[in-house]
């Protein structure tokens, strides 16, 4: 175990530090910016890209709450995305929903994602590491194949959305704010989980599952809960995505590239941190869309994407947020040491160390 420290492990009771104030101000500013965004940038091309980005913010944050915290790398979350999309499409047609009525299906889509995650998780979480990853890929392909072959999913041609008669000027706004709501909610819950006993148990499993189990962590229950939670927002944005893009087919609804893109986002920002996956999604998805639109000639942008991928993993293996946090921490330490003399640092708390206290 490479001495992973829980950042912000020392919470000073009562007094609010300057760091907290800065952080809260930054979050408030970011939120205000996000809310005002479609009012400032009214160009539909821009808000369209913003909606895709928010969808991936929600997906990456949800994925990270399971994979980042527990260390179980899932490359099968597109199962929930596609299921959410197909569910919303089928229910819209069957119940004859139109306009903004369709949005009420999204909580149901999320519920369905959670329900699918229970048997999926019960089965897949029996194995670890590589085998787990491959199982998630296998389940993913089962779902994709099913979507290709069933009549209710429309086979290869997929399912179209009904025409939506929103006003052209503000057409994107409902999609944008719902995507923003899901993204913010997911990040908030992810943050709460990270601070909680449950989050600590998850990270204890990541560090050493057998030892965590020995210390009384009910590993299967904890892993499965996180897996189910992480499925819900992904299924919801899947439904939203279908209504926005107006078509789901097996290759776009169940797209293996999305799974890997989300993992890349989390890695770029910082796997297992709250803000890392958000930052990663905010960097990668817009640049992906930009590349796609600019480098339209052929498949050159695939190569660029792959190279970007390699650079991120080989140059910044721990992600932007942890690297930056360490850098700032080192500077602060140095300054403190120079100023107040030989002041001992509090010992770094490891996750298993704290799990021991809690269990």
């Amino acid at each position: 175990m490479s001495g992973s420290t829980v950042s912000g492990g020392t919470v000073s009771g009562g007094t609010v530090s300057a760091g907290t104030v800065t952080r809260l101000t930054a979050i408030a500013a970011l939120l205000a910016f996000a809310v005002a965004f479609p009012l400032v940038f009214t160009n539909p091309a821009v808000t369209t890209d913003a909606i895709y980005t928010l969808i991936f913010v929600a997906w990456a944050a949800a994925w990270n709450t399971f994979s980042g915290y527990s260390g179980y790398l899932s490359l099968g979350h597109a199962v929930f995305f596609g299921s959410g999309a197909y569910f919303t499409a089928i229910a819209t047609h069957d119940w004859g929903l139109t306009g903004s009525q369709v949005f009420w299906l999204l909580p149901l889509a999320g519920l369905l994602g959670g329900v699918i995650a229970v048997p999926f998780g019960l089965f897949a979480l029996r194995v670890r590491r590589h085998t787990f990853v491959v199982i998630t890929i296998a389940v993913f392909f089962i779902f994709q194949l099913t979507a290709y072959n069933l009549a209710v999913t429309g086979g290869t041609s997929g399912l179209l959305a009904p025409t939506i008669n929103f006003a052209t000027a503000t057409y994107n706004n409902p999609f944008y704010y719902i995507a923003l709501g899901i993204a913010v909610g997911t990040v908030l819950i992810s943050w709460l989980i990270r601070r909680s006993r449950f989050g600590l148990q998850l990270r204890a499993i990541r560090d050493d599952e057998d030892r965590a189990r020995g210390l009384g962590v009910r590993a299967m229950r904890v892993k499965l809960s996180a897996f189910v939670f992480s499925a819900v927002p992904v299924a919801m944005v899947g439904g939203l995505w279908w209504y926005f893009i107006t078509l789901v087919d097996p290759s776009s609804g169940f797209d293996p590239l999305n799974d890997v893109a989300v993992a890349l986002m989390a890695f770029l920002g910082g796997l297992g941190t709250v803000s890392g996956p958000v930052l990663g999604a905010l960097i990668i998805e817009p640049s992906y869309l930009y590349f796609q639109q600019q480098v339209s000639a052929g498949y050159f942008f695939w190569i660029l994407y792959g190279v970007l991928f390699l650079v991120v993993i080989l140059v910044l293996p721990r992600g932007v947020i942890p690297t930056a946090a360490e850098w700032i921490g080192n500077r602060r330490d140095r300054r403190r040491r120079n100023g107040a003399g030989a002041e001992d640092r509090p010992p770094a708390t490891t996750v298993t160390g704290r799990a021991k206290e809690l269990a």
């Binding site: 490479s2 491959v134 296998a138 994407y305 792959g306 991928f309 390699l310």
Partner: protein, 291 residues
């Protein structure tokens, strides 16, 4: 009944080729603790190499193996040296998957750029002709593929169990640190193993290209089959990969008689059922304690 027997024969002959490709994958895993997601697209790359040699240079694909096998071997060593060797730390498992995926995306993009997305194929004379034995029609290419796979698998087996290099490979598989302590150059073993693991895709790709039409997208189908096979066989076990490949491909051929649309699902269904009973796969060892 005749169709059933024909399906079993096809399954065994075709399964041997998958066994060869899966053996490369499982060998790399055993030595380096890495799953090479790019294995599927590397098979497609090898098929395109055979295609380019036969269509543009009029070199027979079988003869072309003299060029493609060394080429894929060198490519494998290059990938290991440039990317895989540099992965360290706690997230090494996840990072190795992502890195090999990135390599796959780059190769896929390059293939699209060069060859386009239209499916291609090449038909050497022995791909269409077949021999009639005991009431079965056996296309020569199936027999050639089976022969190639058998020879290559035997060579890998002999290399592992009869040579000094093989002993150092097995030592590295058992315990990397201890292997280093007794003087084995683990980095060299890893590079050569990766090279061998990738080189087998040259033979696999040649047969795959001669029996299917393919485009750069075919890599996904291949890798999902290969992953199912190595997990079913037990990660790191070459004998397991062989048994699993023969079983999976035969099962697919049999289901294909009645239900062609769902034949591919056999892979995942078998995988799910077997892992419910035995999470380590058929011949896998008990999973090591996660560090």
């Amino acid at each position: 009944m005749a169709r059933f027997l024909q399906a079993v024969t096809d399954g065994i002959l075709g399964g041997a080729v998958y066994a060869l490709m899966a053996a490369g994958l499982t060998l790399i895993f055993g030595v380096m603790d890495i799953i090479n997601i790019a294995q599927g697209i590397l098979v497609v790359l090898a098929a395109y190499l055979s295609y380019a040699l036969s269509v543009h240079l009029h070199i027979d694909p079988l003869l072309g193996l003299l060029i493609t096998v060394p080429a894929m071997f060198v490519l494998g060593i290059a990938i290991e040296w440039a990317f895989m060797r540099r992965l360290r730390g706690r997230e090494r498992v996840a990072m190795s998957l992502l890195v090999s995926y990135a390599v796959a995306v780059i190769i896929e993009g390059a293939l699209y750029q060069i060859f386009g997305s239209t499916p291609v194929g090449y038909l050497p004379s022995y791909a269409v002709a077949s021999v009639h034995i005991l009431g079965f029609y056996l296309p020569y290419i199936y027999l050639i593929g089976f022969g190639l796979a058998a020879v290559a698998l035997a060579a890998i087996y002999l290399m592992l169990y009869r040579t000094k290099f093989g002993r150092s490979v097995r030592a590295t598989m058992q315990d990397r640190v201890a292997a280093r302590l007794v003087g084995i150059n683990v980095d060299r073993v890893a590079a050569l193993t990766f090279g061998i693991g990738v080189a087998v895709t040259a033979a696999g790709g040649m047969v795959f290209g001669a029996t299917n039409t393919f485009n750069p997208d075919s890599g996904y189908d291949l890798i999902s089959r290969l992953l199912s096979i190595v997990i079913l066989g037990g990660l790191g076990s070459i004998a397991g990969a062989l048994a699993a490949a023969l079983f999976m491909v035969t099962a697919e051929e049999i289901v294909n008689i009645w239900q062609p649309t769902w034949a591919t699902a056999v892979y995942y269904a078998v995988l799910v059922i077997v892992l419910l009973v035995r999470p380590t796969g058929l011949l896998g060892k008990r999973e090591a304690r996660a560090q």
